[in-house]
Structures are given as structure tokens and as C-alpha cells.
Symmetry: C2
């Protein structure tokens, strides 16, 4: 390893990952965070915010497909979609694969993330040029207080629940989202690792269950994320997360109808905590 | 990170993991490999062979439950079980949870691994004291050439397919195992990461399919393994891997009947390669 440059991220105080910085690509200090993109021989381009890997070209599909498609295949008519966060564009790209979607609004706090993704991560950010997409640069928590209602699906594609993203996991924020959702509205959100953050996931279950009639969790794998096993919450008053209303788009790499059902099958160590 | 001791393992030439060595526990150079056990604040005791993490107290259940239980729940009458490798005892522990199992033989090349596991990893190695267990110190590839036949289930709990373990992924070895298996015999083996080693998995599919009538793959997650998503092959002439013959034991943390079915649900990127 001598003579080579390495990035490391601690996922816990005593464990983490190592990635060779094959080639630095971009670095900016925005008003909100440090944004860094480098190229790794295995993972391709790696987007790092404040020292945490957000996404990589090679493993982003596990995450973005699984954040977007369960909500999009189960909502009866997903025409208006709101994405909070997700400035790299990957979630927006998955949402816009559905011809049913007439408008997808993405609210990202940090303009620099969107700009750098457009410049350096075209496989994720291609969707920004879709005429159905609308990008709002601003605070998601403030946005949902005053936005017009009538969204069919809201997806929260946030960073970890510390610092600026902490509010995105709060009861008030979820209540504001609930008020924006139309009848049959669905909320899906990234919800950390069941391997490392089970207490956090339980706390989210409690908050969401006080607001929505049905709250379920499902999993994917993200090799570069802490704990690798990664969960999402799915909340709605009316929509059964296991009742698919449409086929997913062709060409996906991780998600299909069968994986959808498998993803909602929680292992006993999660089920005991969440469905007990 | 200054002033602390860190273990790192490269999973590929440009990526890997970092674990703090909270406390060194044991180090031995055996005739076969370097064996190292240290304590990490998150993962508990970590067993490292030739620089690769084999298992940790905290995440071993994802692997050992998923290697053992799919074969044990689907075989019509699993009385005699053979484990190749698995010197830490974790797979043996899972096998012996079934009262149907009358004898489980474990063939481990390296006596020092068994001895160190007995001494330092009691939660895995407790099964060595079960009267139904038999430990043979020796070469698994040689063992299967001369062993008595009549095994119901064979589990291969090997290290990666390089060096001494390479032969454990060869056609000749699988043919020897086939000849040991009784009617309705089942072979299950750890088969590397679909995220990183898809070509290897495809090659195994080809070899196994030339020997067994039914070959399927299934997945688990192992946070400390390369790529995190981890696969197993399931091979038999008669046993349908989705037809469960008995309930799994109580008290498992990752495996149950529903997870069994979910685990055999391959994501499109695997299915396109393996079931096409």
C-alpha cells in the first residue's frame, strides 16, 4: 500500500472502509459541507460528503433502485413525486423511468452537489435534463412546510441523521410530509443499517407509526455503506407495500417483483424488534 | 486514529476494510497459515487467516446460519453431515441444532484453528463437545477420496479459492463428494461475492451443473466479507431447495423459512448470469 493514496471512512469508532484514491476529481467546500469526488479502480467515481461515502458508480444501483421502486410500483397512480435530498440524481433517474410520473421535484440543500454531479457523475445525473424534473435548491424541512400538496410519492434520500440531516428524521418533518401527500400517498426513506443502528430504526418505526397507518421496513445491500445491510422505511395509510400495481421498468440490476417481496422479508433479528 | 492499532484487509487491490485492534488475543504460525485473533470493540473477537477475516463474533451468524440451514431444512432426513473446513466450529454448531442429525464429521486441515477456536471463540466452538461431533484433522480433498459413503448433507466451509483451498472448488473434488452422498444428498458451499466474483460463481455453476441435477444459488450478507453480499451454491439431484421438510430450530437470528425463500430470490444482475 506504500506510495498509494488511500481514503478511509470510519463507520463506527473502531471499523471502516479503505478505498484507494486512484485519481482525485473534484473538491469543494460548500456552505454546508465538504464535497469530494475521486476515482477508485473498483468502485469508479466515489462521491464523499463530509468524509462519508454517499454513492459510487459501481454500487449505487443497490441503493437508488431500492429507494425508488418499491414506492413507485405499489402506488396506484404515481404522477407527482417529491425527492428530499438526492442531489446526485440517482433517485430521480429511477423515478423518471416510469411514464406514469408527470413531474418529479427534487429539493437539495446544496447546489454544489447538483453541479458536481452534473459535471462528474453523468450516469446518475442524466435525469436532471428530463423535462419532467424540477430541481429546487433549498432546505427540505422548510420546503415541506409550504409546498403545494398533492404528492403521490415522497422519497427521502438523506445523509445520516446527524448535523443538517437530523431534522429529516423528526416527527415534525414527517407530519409535514403527511400533509403534502394525496390520498394513497406513500413515503419511503433511507433508514440506516439494521446491523449497526437497530435502535435508531426502532425509534423511526415509533415516530412513523404515530403518523401513518401502515409502516414497514425493507432491506437492500450497499457494499460501501456502514454495516452493508441497509434499510428503508415504507409508510402509507392505504397502500399495501406487498401489492404491486405495475411492473417495474426493464433493465434494472437489483430490483424486480420477486426481489421486492424478498426485501420486505425481514430476518428474525429485525422482525423481533420491529414486528413484535 | 493516531495512537491506535489498526488491522486492514484489502478485499480487492483498491478496496478493503479497517478494524481497530482493541486487544491482540492470539497469534500462531501453523504449517498452513498465519492465524490471528484480536478483539475489536464492535465485532468482538475477529479470526484472521493469512490476513483475511474469516469470522467475527458479531457478524458470524449471517454466514453460519445461511451455510447450514437451507440444506438441513430441505433434506428429507439429515442424519449424517460432513463439513469440510469450518475449523472455528460455527457451521458445526448450526448443524447440531437439529435433533435429526446423528453424526456430524468436520474435516479441518489445520489443528491450530480448532485449538484456538476452542480456547478463544467458545460461542462458535461449543459444538465440538457435542457427542455427535467428530473432528478429523486432515486434508478435505483427500478425505473425500476414501471416506465411507452415505452422507446426507455435505457443507463446504472453506477459505477463498486461492492457495490450499483452491482444490475445494474443483470438479474432481465435487465428484468425490457426489460419490459420498446418499440418495437425496445435498451439497451446500460458500461461493464468494456476487458483487465482486460473478465470473467465479458462473464457473462454479458450470462445474456443479455437470455433476448434479439441480444447482441453485442463494445469498446472505456478511458485513466483514468482500462485497458484503455473499453467495452459496446448493446442489442436489433430487432435493428441491425451495421445498422445506422441517422447521428450523428456534432462536436463530438471520434464518427462518421466509428468509430461506427470499435468499434464493436472486437479483436480476445475478439471475441474468446464472439462470439465463
Amino acid at each position: 500500500m506504500a506510495g498509494r493514496n488511500w481514503f478511509n471512512e470510519l463507520h463506527t469508532p473502531s471499523s471502516g472502509i479503505l478505498l484507494e484514491i486512484g485519481r482525485p476529481i473534484a473538491y469543494r467546500k460548500s456552505p454546508y459541507q465538504e464535497i469530494w469526488i475521486f476515482h477508485n479502480p473498483l468502485f469508479g467515481k466515489v462521491l464523499v460528503l463530509d468524509g462519508c461515502v454517499m454513492t459510487t458508480e459501481k454500487d449505487e444501483f443497490f441503493y437508488h433502485e431500492m429507494l425508488a421502486h418499491p414506492a413507485l410500483t405499489t402506488h396506484p397512480k404515481p404522477e407527482r413525486v417529491l425527492i428530499i435530498g438526492g442531489g446526485d440524481g440517482g433517485t430521480l433517474r429511477e423515478v423518471l423511468r416510469y411514464h406514469e410520473v408527470k413531474k418529479a421535484t427534487l429539493v437539495e440543500l446544496d447546489r454544489e452537489v447538483v453541479d458536481l454531479a452534473k459535471q462528474h457523475l453523468p450516469s446518475l445525473s442524466e435525469s436532471f435534463s428530463d423535462p419532467r424534473s424540477e430541481v429546487v435548491i433549498g432546505d427540505g424541512a422548510k420546503f415541506v412546510k409550504t409546498a403545494e400538496n398533492g404528492y403521490d410519492v415522497v422519497l427521502i434520500d438523506s445523509t445520516d441523521p446527524v448535523g443538517p440531516a437530523e431534522i429529516l428524521f423528526s416527527e415534525g418533518f414527517y407530519r409535514d410530509i403527511k400533509s403534502l401527500l394525496g390520498k394513497d400517498g406513500v413515503l419511503a426513506l433511507q433508514c440506516e443499517s439494521p446491523f449497526l443502528h437497530m435502535d435508531f430504526i426502532k425509534s423511526q418505526k415509533k415516530i412513523l407509526s404515530s403518523i401513518f397507518g401502515k409502516v414497514n421496513f425493507y432491506n437492500t445491500v450497499v457494499p460501501t455503506y456502514p454495516g452493508s445491510l441497509w434499510s428503508f422505511a415504507f409508510a402509507s395509510d392505504t397502500v399495501d407495500p406487498l401489492e404491486l400495481k405495475r411492473k417495474p421498468p426493464e433493465g434494472l440490476r437489483y430490483y424486480d417483483e420477486r426481489v421486492h417481496r424478498a426485501a420486505f422479508t425481514l430476518p428474525p433479528f429485525m422482525r423481533d424488534e420491529l414486528e413484535g
